[in-house]
């Protein structure tokens, strides 16, 4: 049932858009404002997903596969990807759902990301990608190397994330201004009310878990993934081979659709054309995102959310180097001393 991919994708796109869930922001804030609120929310996804995943494996619903760890490609690719998501103004999923909101800069980033992941996976750079990913060490999962049950690591993760969430929730409550409500009931909750970071994260963790058996039922033994499906989508568009359209391809198309529905329904869709500098950064960032994600074996979803939940070395190494790449890019671009602004005059953009 391939259609379940489209449904899961649509729900995910909707939740990402309404929850304003930005993994790039989660990583970046660690460096720019030393704020770990969104990063903690991100780890909530990993923890929920990890519990779900090993429960599904224990029940015999899915079988997690183990492969040797391509350490060099993971390190280099993770770093490039982390750097690129700052340039592109969003990671792979972030770019998909912002594209659905009508941000033209994200359209450019998305096209380049999908194109370059295809170039790396099946195109002229596939030889380079394969040889880089061929450099491995014979270790797959952290619990396998330690010779312990995965549940030990699941428990450690759940407790650590639980403490981090408690830390953030126990901060003195501040009264945050909200927009006046114009809808009521379910429409208000779905299309207007601001969603909390941790609740949104828990929902995404559940979606990620549900994705596994649905995807496996179609012969694709994997969870959420963005890079390989994006690459397959490009290959399908240029070859017309319907075999390429699998559960994952429908998933990414669904993300676009879901975020468009969410944005349209809440009056947050508008075609927004950025300035030339932003477009150039989006193009460069998108291309590097495709290269980095292909090398690392996944993006902020495939690696940082799915592989980490399986406690693979690839997942946690990629996550670490993505965060490092984000930090370097943030230092170079965002944290540079900006010229003294003149707030009375329009600093940029078009006046409303």
């Amino acid at each position: 049932m391939l259609i379940s991919g489209l449904i899961v994708g649509t729900v995910l796109g909707f939740v990402l858009q309404r929850g304003r869930f930005c993994v790039t922001g989660a990583f970046r804030d660690l460096w720019t404002t030393r704020n770990s609120r969104w990063f903690t929310a991100f780890l909530v996804i990993v923890a929920v997903h990890s519990v779900g995943l090993f429960a599904l494996q224990a029940l015999g619903v899915i079988t997690l596969e183990a492969e040797a760890f391509p350490w060099l490609a993971t390190i280099v690719g993770g770093f490039i990807f982390g750097f690129a998501i700052i340039l592109a103004g969003g990671c792979a999923t972030g770019t998909y759902y912002r594209a659905g909101e009508g941000l033209v800069g994200s359209w450019f980033a998305l096209i380049m990301y999908a194109l370059f992941s295809a170039i790396m996976k099946t195109g002229p750079l596939s030889g380079f990608n394969t040889s880089m990913r061929g450099i491995t060490i014979d270790a797959s999962t952290i619990y396998g190397s330690l010779g312990i049950s995965p549940w030990v690591l699941v428990a450690v993760l759940v407790v650590a994330v639980g403490l981090a969430v408690r830390h953030h929730l126990s901060k003195p409550k501040v009264k945050i201004a909200t927009l006046p409500a114009s809808k009521s009931g379910l429409a208000h909750v779905l299309f207007e009310k601001p969603w909390g970071a941790f609740g949104t994260a828990a929902i995404i963790g559940v979606i990620a878990t549900v994705a596994w058996p649905l995807s496996a039922a179609t012969g694709r033994n994997d969870g959420l993934g963005i890079t390989t499906p994006s690459s397959k989508l490009v290959s399908f568009l240029v070859t017309g081979d319907p075999e390429l359209v699998d559960w994952g391809v429908l998933l990414v198309v669904g993300i676009l659709l879901g975020s468009f529905i969410a944005a349209k329904g809440s009056g947050e869709f508008r075609i927004r054309v950025p300035d030339a500098t932003t477009i150039i950064k989006s193009i460069g960032g998108g291309a590097l995102m495709g290269i980095g994600a292909a090398l690392a074996g996944g993006c902020t979803i495939g690696n940082a959310m799915v592989q980490t939940a399986q406690f693979s070395f690839q997942g946690w190494t990629a996550l670490g180097f993505m965060i490092l790449g984000t930090g370097v890019a943030a230092k170079l671009t965002l944290m540079r001393k900006r010229p003294a602004s003149t707030p009375t005059s329009s600093t940029s953009g078009v006046s409303v």
């Binding site: 912002r98 941000l103 501040v174 927009l179 508008r270 600093t347």
Partner: protein, 74 residues
Amino acid sequence: MQVKLETDGQVCPFPLIEAKSAIDDLAIGDELVINFDCTQATEAIPRWAAESGYPVTNFAKAGDASWTITVQKQ
């Protein structure tokens, strides 16, 4: 005094970075009107104002994917 900051066309985190730098130049009691069209800023800017102790005197939707928020420096 009221000062306007137009950030339309900029994606996050730039509207917030601009707002932080703009409010530095204001005197206590002055208001900063921030116009933005980045969806994430509907979460990030009110949160920043609340955590910094700046009252929000106006927060409204100006149109599709277009918002305005007024933050008072304290």
